[in-house]
């Protein structure tokens, strides 16, 4: 209330002036309505029915319409409406089902004019015809809408909503004969007042009751509806089917919705429960209200724009017994407080991140994060001329790109496809998986599998020849292999992890040195490498060539630097690039810093790796015949290590293959976490079958139930096209087998493919063949079948 600005707007001849102000009512308000000339407002509620004049500085009570000694339920108003043609005419809807009209021109104290007692239940809404002086419409809880001619004593027509309660009725502003009605079951109906027998059109707009609707004052086809499901939807009614064109998600059920005058895309809403604020939304920007009025202390029950052509004055009544005039200048704008940020994963693993410019620049004083390939791109939002507030926002976009090589997750897909997880003996599974890993040149993984086999398969069952063979294969290039024991392995793993850590630190320092001159750095994405490269280093291969080979690849990758193409389409708003301050720096940066730092990092990390990475298993192991449990702590650490490295695939695969042997070592939650991560990854790569297999093989209850959910498939009968309620193949309506192949007319057993449009289908092979030559349905129904 501190910053009370005086606003003056010119509207043709007359001028609206005023400030944010309020007055106390004696009782909670249920509804308010304004006079056509915007000078008076009527407030109605259970215990109040008064007219206030809106003056420059304050509200002045003009008239109390609640006269008479005894309180009557006829005065207990659920809704009130002021005629927009005749300023002496008012109508109220009473909670006991009575519709009352009031004539302010009456000389007596009691202004009550007519009483219609036709509704049996509470009347929720009354509405005058926008142009016709004598026409009044009401909608009631009893499921009827009634149209009254004020010159007659009774209603002229009754529209039945089939005993579904009517929550709102609104005459269309442009279509003389049309009105919209909203219902408690979520439907919206359009009626022609000349045809009371049947609605013109009906559609389901919301889940649960639709509390309110409002026709757009200019665009004649638009209808806004608000419901208990917290949504505001804008429907385009011009087309044959009502089309939802905008949807705004509010935080509480929507009690009223009113289009803002003169602003095509703005509307005001208030809520029925919990939330006391009034929001003004730009429907094109549905996530954040463009303005917000926070004055009320209890739920707002009525909102109305003061004048038909003035977008800056909003009146509201509330359960907290106050009447407010809100001025747009005083509205709070949540957008000012918001930090718009966007984060998106690209198809090939790139990551784009956009944030407010101010945030990004403030941030860049800090130590830059290694692997940040930040593109210094700044956008300035084009100002909307209709916008009263200029929210100048410019944002910066950063893109983190992955190496073309490292980003390729081919190894992941291949591994997932080829791993065997069950159905064979442990030794075979391990061998098989080791072989797969080896072929994909993931030597460390291969080695791990081999070791698992050695640990868990008792030597008695394993022919020694086979053993030798497998080890020989797995480590043909390891001359020193027999001279190490498991301790080495453990420490090796540990120090590798540590090394990795320190390496990261080194690198970030390097970067700091390199790029201290520039605010925005551009260098290697170590993130993906971090998970991959060290894993390869740890392979236990002493042999240098492979590493070098790998490095060569790496280098090559560097030389073909990714082009800095702006993903323009990611920003649908019409941004224009305002400036590119660090452009030259950035280029320079690209030229040297990544290479230098990258090389440094690699040389640093290479040397220590070689010094310890010789791992193998001594043959004496078997002789000592340690129980497999002896190693489980070690294996557990190993799994943890893989999971931390990001190779959750390995962790889960080992978990499944070892099953009971290791399961108890790892707590349920961790396991569940691994499983969900792996399944998520598999599904991203569309490896549905494999993910399902993993779900099936998992022992976590939370995971196994994943593929138990929504297993029902609803099918239509291909003959009568009705839903098949029966289980089985016979349609219980037409008594025929529903799943015959449309091509060969035999019953399909096994894979059945069908068109969701016409329910016809058949053997996968037959349909495939048919569609090669024709686009129409093989059953001859004329449907242009689509199979995806």
């Amino acid at each position: 209330m501190e910053k009370m600005a005086r606003v003056t707007t010119a509207l043709g001849g007359n001028t609206l002036t005023g400030r944010t102000m309020y007055c106390h009512l004696d009782a909670p308000a249920n509804a308010i309505s304004v006079c056509r000339d915007a000078a008076q407002v009527v407030v109605a509620g259970r215990n109040i029915f008064k007219i206030y004049a809106i003056e420059e500085e304050q509200f002045v009570e003009k008239l109390n319409l609640r006269v008479g000694r005894k309180p009557s339920l006829n005065f207990s108003c659920a809704d009130v409406v002021w005629h927009q043609m005749d300023e002496n005419l008012l109508a109220t809807a009473a909670t006991n089902g009575v519709v009352v009209t009031w004539n302010l021109g009456k000389p007596s104290r009691n202004k009550q004019d007519q009483l219609f007692t036709e509704h049996k239940r509470t009347v929720n809404k009354v509405c005058f015809h926008p142009t016709e002086a004598y026409m009044l419409l009401s909608g009631s809880q009893d499921g009827y809408m009634k149209c009254f001619d004020l010159r007659k004593k009774d209603s002229v027509s009754t529209f039945s909503g089939q005993s579904e309660s009517v929550r709102d009725v609104q005459f269309s502003i442009r279509d003389y004969f049309t009105f919209a009605a909203t219902f408690e079951n979520g439907n919206v109906q359009l009626w022609d007042i000349r045809r009371p027998d049947r609605y013109e059109r009906m559609f389901t707009a919301h889940n649960g009751p639709v509390f309110c609707c409002d026709w757009h004052p200019e665009d004649r086809g638009w209808l806004a509806t608000g419901g208990r499901d917290k949504m505001v939807k804008v429907w385009d009614m011009n087309t044959n089917r009502a089309k939802e064109i905008y949807c705004v998600q509010s935080i509480a059920s929507v009690a009223r919705v009113k289009w803002r005058p003169e602003c095509k895309h703005h509307l005001a809403t208030c809520s029925m429960m919990v939330d006391h604020n009034i929001y003004v939304w730009d429907v094109r920007r549905p996530y954040i209200p463009s303005a917000m009025f926070e004055e009320h202390r209890d739920v707002t029950t009525g909102i109305v724009w003061r004048h038909l052509h003035d977008p800056y004055f909003l009146l509201s009544g509330s359960k907290d017994s106050t009447l407010y005039q809100h001025i747009f200048k005083d509205a709070s704008q949540p957008i000012e407080r918001a930090n718009p940020e966007g984060l998106c994963y690209g198809l090939f693993g790139d990551l784009a991140f956009a944030a407010k410019e101010s945030l990004v620049t403030a941030d860049s004083n800090r130590k830059p994060y290694p692997g940040d390939r930040r593109h210094p791109i700044f956008f300035k939002r084009k100002l909307d001329p209709t916008e009263q507030f200029e929210s100048v926002s410019s944002s910066a976009l950063s893109v983190f790109e992955t190496e073309p090589d490292s980003s390729s997750m081919g190894w992941f897909v291949d591994t997932a496809r080829r791993y065997a997880l069950a159905g064979r003996s442990l030794a075979e599974l391990c061998d098989h998986n080791a072989k797969v890993a080896k072929e994909l040149s993931r030597n460390q993984v291969a080695q791990t599998w081999t070791m698992l086999r050695i640990i868990y398969c008792s030597p008695g069952t394993m022919p020694s020849a086979n053993l030798n063979h497998s080890i020989g294969k797995g480590s043909a290039s390891l001359p020193l292999m027999n001279s190490f024991n498991l301790k080495d392995m453990a420490s090796g793993m540990g120090s590798e992890a540590r090394l990795d850590w320190s390496k990261g630190e080194n690198r970030s320092e390097n970067i700091l040195l390199d790029s201290s001159a520039t605010l925005i750095t551009n260098d290697e994405n170590e993130e993906t490498e971090g998970s991959d490269v060290p894993a390869d280093y740890l392979l236990g291969d002493v042999e240098g060539d492979e590493d070098e080979l790998y490095l060569m690849d790496h280098e090559n990758a560097h030389t073909e630097e990714p082009e800095y193409v702006l993903p323009q389409e990611a920003f649908p708003l019409r941004h224009e690039i305002v400036d590119n301050p660090s452009g030259p720096d950035h280029l320079q940066d690209k030229a040297d810093s990544p290479h230098v730092s990258g090389n440094e990092a690699e040389t640093v990390s290479l040397t220590p790796v070689e010094s310890f990475s010789l791992i193998s298993i001594s043959h004496t192991l078997y002789e000592s015949r340690l129980p497999p449990d002896f190693f489980s702590a070690l294996v557990r650490d190993m799994l943890r290590f893989y999971a931390e490295q990001g190779d959750v695939q390995m962790a889960v695969s080992v978990l499944i293959v070892l099953g009971e042997r290791i399961r108890k070592e790892i707590d349920e939650q961790t396991q569940e976490h691994w499983y969900t991560s792996y399944i998520d990854l598999l599904q991203r790569f569309r490896l549905w079958n494999i993910s399902n297999q993993v779900i099936k093989l998992s022992t976590c209850r939370a995971i196994t139930c994943l593929n138990q959910a929504s297993t029902t498939l609803h099918v239509n009968c291909s003959n009568c096209k009705r839903p098949m309620s029966n289980k089985g193949w016979i349609c219980d309506r037409c008594r025929q087998c529903a799943s015959t192949c449309a091509v060969c007319h035999h019953v399909v057993k096994g894979l059945f493919v069908w068109c969701q449009g016409c329910s016809h289908g058949g053997h996968l092979q037959h349909i495939l063949k048919w569609l090669e030559s024709s686009t129409q349905c093989p059953a001859g129904c004329g449907h242009l079948c689509e199979y995806t």
């Binding site: 309180p71 649960g208 509390f211 429960m273």
Partner: protein, 549 residues
């Protein structure tokens, strides 16, 4: 005692896969026979073996298992389980061990067993319901068997109850059952208390809590007050009650937890009404549901006699009005409905008249059951866990308390209650809303022997009468209708079941609407419990809303 290997595991039986059930049954059989072996040799009577306490304990455990088997043989929706359990019992009997037999006569003491659907005769839809219920709880309780008169409602009821007790929610599982016990104990409903004591222990609740509320955590103790007020005088709930719960430092409730608790409390208060209103018998496997004594004429259960469950002359005494008389009753009721329908528009009562009609109805409802003071309510064994003097029922309304008027147009379930519940405890608002809708709109367009009757007026009268007792007023309802449509004995029944369910007797049940079918009386009960639940919820939620604003 043989643990582990010998432990009888029941969980496999709930599976929908018949092979799994088969294996589970086989295991049960093995385990039971193993257990029976050592007991067989001991020729001491189970309950007198004070010198062998260990043995007595093992007998006790074994008998419990047998009782459970008996329950399965009668109440499992899967035929194979029923048959096999029967078979196992027979095997045990052949070993010379006494096996239990069910006490009482079917799921309800008020409704003859032959009227109630037999497990095994259900149609496909009901079978799915039964199987769902069995899979969720491992049992098919008597409430379900009575409610299945109205499968459409039952489905929604089970779904809601399952969600409240077993699905995601802010409260831990054992708290939920404990709150259920608290709520049921308020009405001394030993049936529900027993059921939930078992469930409470099954989900790992601390048995110590069952010795009384003072042994439960402070947090639950704090809920006691709300429970009491909600059950008997919900109109007295203020935002201070809510505040006390939410601001109790380390024992405070979160809003979401509180809403969950409130929904549970109201659910179990009204379920207690249903239990007494339909005379639900104890579960077969619970105390009082079975006996090990051989059947003999002299050994009738006291309970059965007091309730006159199976003696024909009882019915004659109750039905002292002749058949033709009661036939007229239905006719008269229908005539009245027709009249009301027609003359509604003609005479319009004045506003004051309408208001006073509501007040009269409200006041009268206070005194409706003052006459049944003389009636001796059967002494039930009050729930042993909550025999606590501070818990005794206080008859608030008898003293003619002034009940303030709550106007539904200002705070109703559809607009306000729903939004609040759904906000704080997602999805539950939706489920309860559905349940209310089904209960309110359920009709088969029949009345006793008449078909194609629009019963909406009667249903609305019942619903509004119950809300009227709680001081909830509908502006758009003429409370004169209630007087026209509901006769005194019906009002007595409604009032008793809703406000003091533990006093409901078979006589009351029999004496209202004598010509109506049992399924219709169960239908009335559904209206009663849903209207009661909504009334309690409205008061509690209004208090929460007031606290929040």
């Amino acid at each position: 005692m043989a643990e582990g290997e010998n432990e009888v595991r029941w969980d496999g039986l709930c599976s929908r896969d018949s092979a799994t059930r088969d294996t589970a049954l086989e295991n049960i059989k093995q385990a039971i026979l193993r257990k029976a072996e050592p007991l067989r040799s001991v020729k001491v009577l189970p309950y007198r073996s004070s010198e062998q306490p260990l043995n007595a304990a093992s007998w006790d455990g074994f008998n419990r298992i047998l009782a459970r088997l008996l329950m399965l043989s009668k109440r499992c929706p899967f035929e194979d389980v029923r048959e096999k359990s029967q078979f196992i019992l027979k095997c045990v009997q052949e070993l010379g061990i006494r096996i239990p037999r069910p006490l009482g006569h079917g799921p309800s003491r008020f409704i003859p067993e032959k009227e109630i659907l037999q497990v095994g005769n259900e149609d496909a839809q009901m079978h799915t319901l039964f199987a769902d219920s069995f899979a969720a709880l491992g049992r098919l309780d008597n409430i379900t068997l009575v409610m299945v008169f109205h499968p459409q409602y039952l489905e929604s009821f089970l779904k809601t109850q399952h969600y409240l007790l077993q699905m995601d929610g802010p409260l831990p599982l054992h708290y939920r059952h404990y709150i259920g016990i608290m709520a049921a104990a308020r009405h001394q409903c030993s049936y529900l208390v027993n059921l939930h004591v078992n469930d409470f222990l099954h989900v790992g609740g601390d048995p110590k809590w069952l010795n009384g509320l003072e042994n439960a955590p402070q947090k639950l103790q704090n809920l006691g007050e709300l429970n009491k007020v909600l059950a008997h005088r919900p109109w007295l709930i203020t935002k201070e009650h809510i505040e006390q719960l939410l601001k109790a430092e380390e024992h405070s409730w979160s809003l979401a937890e509180l809403v969950h608790a409130v929904v549970l409390l109201t659910h179990y208060h009204s379920l207690a009404s249903f239990t007494f209103g339909c005379g639900i018998s104890p579960e077969i496997h619970c105390d009082g549901g079975h006996t090990f004594r051989p059947p003999s004429v002299s050994n009738y259960c006291i309970c059965d006699i007091t309730n006159g469950n199976h003696s024909m002359e009882e019915i004659h005494v109750a039905g002292s009005v002749s058949i033709t008389d009661s036939f007229c009753e239905v006719e008269a009721l229908m005539e009245k409905m027709k009249q009301l329908q027609e003359c509604r528009d003609e005479e319009e009562a004045s506003q004051e008249e309408m208001a006073s009609r509501f007040e009269i109805e409200k006041r009268e409802s206070m005194f409706v059951f003052s006459s049944d003071d003389e009636e001796v309510a059967p002494t039930r064994d009050i729930s042993r866990h909550f025999e606590d003097t501070s818990y005794g029922y206080k008859d608030f309304s008898r003293h003619g308390m002034h009940v303030p008027t709550f106007r539904v147009q200002d705070y109703c379930w559809e607009d306000h209650g729903y939004s609040l519940v759904n906000r704080l405890y997602p999805d539950v608002g939706q489920l309860i809303d559905e349940k209310f809708h089904i209960a309110y709109n359920l009709t088969y367009n029949t009345m006793a022997m008449h078909k194609d009757v629009d019963t909406s007026m009667l249903r609305r009268a019942i619903w509004n009468y119950i809300h009227c007792m709680f001081g909830i007023r509908y502006d758009d309802y003429d409370y004169g209708e209630i007087n026209q449509l509901l006769d005194r004995s019906f009002k007595v029944y409604i009032k008793t079941v809703v406000c003091t369910p533990e006093k409901a007797t078979k006589k009351m049940y029999d004496s209202f609407w004598r010509q109506f079918k049992h399924s219709e009386k169960v239908h009335v009960n559904l209206l009663l419990i849903e209207a009661r639940m909504q009334a309690e919820l409205l008061y509690a939620l209004r208090a929460i809303t007031r606290y929040m604003t």
